[in-house]
Symmetry: C2
Subunit: 794 residues, 2 copies
């Protein structure tokens, strides 16, 4: 925690003891340098000298001395110089603070202890606690231990080690040893340490003891340790042990092997792996050995590394991708770019946040993506992007790393990850513990299959609009939009019907036995039309309509705030024929695949409902259309009719909504946008500043804002289940793949989360951890009354 | 209530009684025509014949007979024809329904009574009750009375009268009398009725009785009555009495005079006038005698009639308005049009809803305005608008009526209204009863003074951005936006400082003794910049910057959803120097006017807060700047620091917000937009359909959506007062002038509402009525815990 003093102070030195140490160790320079360092650090920490003096006077004195002596490194100063320097330091401290430097070790000790306790109330610590909700009365602790020295000769030394390999997880001690040295010498890089095994030769007894201690510590802590130790004249002293950081691969291997070793139970193994880490296992990464030229760093929107030739528009991406890998670079993407995004290896944008169009779509496809890379100056017209003096033209190779946000010049070797049998075992255990179902957001059979291979138990969100951007579908869609009357719209919709039917059939087959939630058309119609004069002219020619008429339609459909405009169920209500076509396609497909023996469970979801009456009207259209299909096909499919909860009003009136809806799916992306009054496309100009200045603790599009948006979700769940106690409730925003948000969903008693395919394993693990950490898990009902409580209490 | 049968059925006729009536009255045609009408109406109402037969067979039979006889009017048919027609009718009824027409009066009566009760469960009645929240078990009633006849000779007749003049309210019986006739004859327009006084000569006894009854009814009902009566052979029979509809002028006069007459108490007088009606008293109206050519009808956004020459842009409006009245016609307005709106008599737009920019600004100025007039095809480029074949060019005269939405060709005579002493007395009584304070939304001293003359008790919302559009202020504002760095911004802000200071001083003087709530800069900076290439070029020349740089800035500031973008306190946080300048101007002005002896109470309001931390950061800037001014001027002003609650998250976390804010002001316009996910600028394409199809009961921008947005307001009030029980809470959205919303605010225990100047009297009256209708009013605390209750209950 910042503000806490985590410095280790080597107390107990004064003129007398320093001289003793010099004699005893036979190394006067070492003794006085230790003394010098101690006084310097004590002055900084206990006397707060830098703040009092308004500068680092001790460091200046040291530098001044080195200049006088004509040396560059501290270690080239003589023992006598260092002894004199200590005197100078003490003088400075007395002058500046009015308090003499204590020579008595007991006084030194109490001064240091007080300083630690004082640090609890510094501005930095107070701010940190407020932001992270740490109570002010928690307090801090001080450890006082005797000092040992690793630089007492060749039978002494110091080392750092892991009880297992932190990269691979292999069960073998891994670390470094530096003979005749203190820990600081390792840090300062004065000498190269040796592999830990070297210690076996130099001080075999200590090494044997060390291996014993490693085993003891693992047995005690039931986890892999990161250990610091010192050997003083052949005797091993442990300085510190803590749980070791590790790669995802190592985390999985250590957890599973410790179960096999009987060290931990399966439930503990499940708790040992950080869900977010799993991303590393699912995507290729940049070879850590490679030397790279980083051009710029953007927001790491969708993980994985990718290599390709730069292209600047979707058509070129599609054309060139047939022969070679491409990376689509845009100022920002729009749904028009969808086919290019499908064709590209990765997407890189100059603008946009972590939940901009590019980011969301790329994550949905599990495709590497970097957004908001502001250092880039992208000129789509000139087909070039610039970073400072560097100019990257169309066709140039770049490598991007969506896990770090790095944009790298040229082709960099990648490392292929792989999921192994240990991963599968771990996930199997996770599945036993979790209460939440995990579904996926998928719009294509391909995505659905991939998600299923990752363990998805159905589709929580199929965005039908993505289906309309492919090939000549967009043409039929545009015909529908441009139609002058109902008849014209129906004609165009008839062309779309068989295509949609085919899409749905594919999804149903891929999810055989699992529910498939299909959201009716959601985006404003405007998104399907071209916008530049040139594109409009082209389309007018293709469609054989007057350019002016097309332009007029485009301008009529332009909205000041399209996010809050004519979209979602507002389309289905003003143009019920669109809903009819989609519902007909869904049930024709369902009947078709049911005939093939597929177990099909469609869930029809109405988007952007604000008022229950909207849902009632759409229900009438859906049920009537479904009945018509059933009558015509002589087939009957069980289905659910439900709604997205993505507007505050819907959550606030969820009791009414639940009179009609058979399920709720919280669309927390849009719910966050409206609850915060924050457009994710526009937030780039201030949200980074908010995060940097700690105005917001986290990006609310990354992790659900539990205090605000979360309260609203709680209200919605509570009110909905008041009307309908067994109401099926899920979440299908980006948050469905975020571990903290998943834990929150678990506590609210949701039935499922839905996330992009590559996040499914993360969600499975996070859901299991939430259940394991929840004392109330056996009674799933506990979170259900949350709505009212959350609304009422802070 | 629709679905209720409010028809009066003349029961008891059959072949025998009809013949008797023919003999008795000496008018066979009359007798058989009555019989025919009875059978026809009974068939429709009791046998539901139209629905059963799928068409109006009886009316067809009647038409067929008239064709055969070669007559056009029903009354030209012979008695015998009518008698035969009755037989035909009965035959049709039996054929179609399988039930014979009852000849027995008792049977007729029971059939009719059952039909009324049946009507309770028709689809229409059920839907109506659901939408209007009328319980299904309320039930309906049936009145059965004996029939009297006004067509029994010259000592008979029928009439309709008001106990006072419904136009002026003068205390004199007002109405019409038709001798020897039934009520239907008046309706059918067969003969012209005489003034009610004619009755004094024709049947003086009945007339004397009638005047007595009028007095009795008024005394009984304590209100002006609308009466229907019949005189049968000199005897007066009362058919119906009900409370009379009246103009606003009459309503005020009747209410005040009835108090003077001792008929009602002052509190009853206050309840007698509909607040919304007062609008009529405050604006000129179209002379009801004038003949007019209505070109189109739009949404009546701001009341009052106005005449002027059509202009299509703000600059022309300003130029021409110096010499003659103009009406500004635009597809839609933006803040750039402000000076043109100020100059124009009225504003007319093709697009936008009741709370679009044009509507809000016009209402704020009390200026006539029609928006969303879709029949208009406005071409600003060609300086013309078209409605069907009619073409209105720049300079042509039109008249608009903002109370009805009518756009009228040419100049139409207007009638000037006037507020009289009776109005003042009524408002004085209202002020005694209300608990809510009434403030005004005003941005200029002129508006503030006007509002004060209407009784405003302070300013609830001063939108500082409007101040930046005048004259060369916009230039300084643009310099600020285009500045490359903090220094440049500070330089430009220094130019704005004295202007803002002057604005604030004017407002403080106008509101001497009352609080003035000043909202810090709110709109996205984009709104201050030009958008077309031409305008950008012009500005670049004026400002001596490269057009490309300007264009770049404009494009950088363009947002996908500006409503949810970089605006409100997000500006103040990213550019704290803007907040500093505004706060400095506020306190320099406050100190200046305090020196003059003005009692000044500034309330500084931070817009678009979503998270308490935003408010904390702005508070630091505000308090530090205020202290600096106080130190420099050696003056100290008490002020409050508070926030708008205009985002769902702010209401949901109001407990946290109230730790910092000293007052809340609910900005229910924006709160409605975000809670509903509904942009008021874009809602024009579907909101009218929603209202027409009863999907929404009312326009949520007109009257606060109590079930949804209202719940959120309740939550905010409840949570805010949990933290700070005496928290001052107001509302400053458009709803502050809507009577139903005002009643809701009263029930929630708000301290004040704030509305546009012309709505201040409406708000005063509505607040009084809310208090008078509220049984719990004496204990003001009752509504305060509303937050939690409202959140929890439907």
């Amino acid at each position: 925690m910042p503000g806490m003093m985590d410095t280790i102070l080597n107390l107990g030195l004064n003129d007398e003891t320093a001289e003793g140490l010099a004699t005893q160790s036979g190394n006067a320079r070492f003794a006085y340098d230790s003394y010098r360092r101690f006084v310097q650090m004590y002055g900084d920490v206990v006397f707060d000298l830098k703040a009092v003096a308004g500068g680092d006077l001790l460091e200046e004195a040291l530098e001044h001395l080195k200049q006088q002596r004509g040396v560059v490194r501290d270690m080239d100063l003589e023992a006598s110089d260092l002894r004199d320097l200590v005197a100078t330091f003490k003088q400075i401290i007395t002058q500046q603070t009015g308090r003499p430097f204590p020579d008595d070790p007991g006084e030194q000790l109490w001064g240091a202890i007080e300083a630690v306790f004082r640090s609890w109330d510094t501005r930095r610590a107070t701010d940190y606690r407020r932001v992270h909700d740490i109570p002010d009365d928690l307090g801090t602790a001080v450890n006082v231990v005797a000092m040992v020295y690793g630089n007492m000769g060749d039978d002494s030394g110091t080392g750092v080690a892991f009880t297992r390999d932190p990269s691979t997880g292999e069960r073998t001690v891994f670390g470094e040893f530096l003979p005749n040295a203190q820990g600081e010498d390792v840090v300062a890089g004065r000498r190269d340490p040796e592999p830990i095994r070297a210690m076996a030769d130099r001080c075999p007894d200590a090494y044997r003891d060390f291996l014993d201690v490693c085993r003891t510590l693992e047995t005690h802590y039931h986890d892999m340790q990161d250990i610091e130790f010192t050997v003083e004249r052949g005797t091993l002293y442990m300085l510190q042990t803590r749980t070791a950081k590790r790669t995802a691969q190592a985390a999985v291997r250590v957890a599973v092997e410790m179960v096999d070793e009987g060290l931990i139970a399966e439930r503990e193994a499940v708790l040992r792996v950080q869900p977010a880490q799993l991303d590393q296992l699912l995507h290729p990464t940049i070879d850590p050995e490679a030397s790279i030229e980083v051009l710029a760093v953007g927001l790491p929107a969708s993980p994985g590394a990718a290599i390709g030739r730069v292209v600047f528009d979707a058509d070129t991406a599609e054309r060139r991708a047939a022969n070679e890998p491409v990376i689509l670079v845009r100022r920002e993407t729009s749904p028009d770019d969808f086919h290019g995004m499908v064709a590209a290896q990765a997407i890189l944008t100059q603008r946009g946040g972590m939940t901009s169009h590019a980011a969301v779509v790329a994550r949905g496809m599990g495709k590497s993506c970097i957004v908001g890379c502001k250092e880039l100056d992208v000129s789509e017209k000139d087909r070039v992007f610039r970073v400072d003096q560097v100019r990257i033209a169309e066709g140039d190779w770049i490598t991007v790393d969506g896990s770090t946000g790095q944009v790298i010049r040229g082709q960099v070797p990648l490392v292929d990850p792989g999921l192994d049998e240990r991963f599968d075992r771990l996930m199997g255990w996770a599945d036993q513990f979790r209460m939440l179902r995990v579904r996926t957001n998928a719009d294509t059979p391909h995505d659905a299959e991939r998600a299923r291979s990752f363990g998805a138990e159905g589709i929580g969100l199929c965005r039908t609009e993505h289906m309309f951007f492919e090939g000549d579908r967009i043409t039929a869609m545009r015909e529908m939009i441009l139609a002058r009357d109902l008849e014209g719209r129906r004609r165009a919709l008839l062309k779309l019907l068989p295509m949609q039917r085919q899409d749905f059939a594919g999804l149903f087959r891929a999810m055989d036995g699992y529910p498939v939630t299909i959201r009716l058309l959601d985006p404003p119609l405007h998104e399907f039309l071209p916008h530049t004069d040139e594109e409009i002219q082209d389309l007018a020619t293709t469609m054989d309509v007057a350019p002016d008429r097309l332009k007029h339609t485009v301008s009529m459909l332009t909205e000041a705030n399209p996010m809050l405009g004519h979209r979602g169920c507002r389309l289905g209500i003003t143009f019920p024929e669109i809903t009819e076509m989609q519902v007909e396609a869904i049930f024709l497909a369902a009947c078709e695949v049911a005939d093939e023996g597929v177990a099909v469970f469609p869930e029809i979801m109405v988007p952007l409902v604000a008022h229950v009456e909207e849902l009632r009207r759409q229900e009438r259209v859906v049920r009537q259309t479904a009945e018509r299909v059933f009558t015509n096909t002589r087939c009957r499919i069980d289905y659910l009719f439900g709604t997205m909860i993505e507007l505050p009003r819907t959550a606030l009136t969820a009791d009414e909504i639940a009179e009609v809806a058979e399920f709720f799916s919280f669309g927390t992306n849009d719910l966050t946008q409206t609850t915060f009054g924050l457009s994710r496309d526009d937030a780039g100009r201030f949200l980074p500043i908010y995060l940097e200045q700690n105005i917001l603790p986290t990006d609310p599009f990354q992790s659900l804002d539990q205090r605000g948006v979360g309260r609203l979700v709680g209200v919605g769940v509570g009110l909905g289940r008041e009307t309908s106690p067994t109401l099926k409730i899920g979440i299908c925003g980006e948050h469905g793949g975020d571990p903290e948000s998943i834990a929150f969903c678990h506590h609210l008693g949701l039935n499922y989360v839905s996330c992009s395919p590559f996040r499914v394993p993360i969600a499975r693990l996070a859901a299991a951890q939430a259940a394991l950490c929840d004392v109330s898990t056996p009674q799933l009902g506990v979170g259900l009354s949350g709505g009212r409580d959350i609304a009422a209490n802070a």
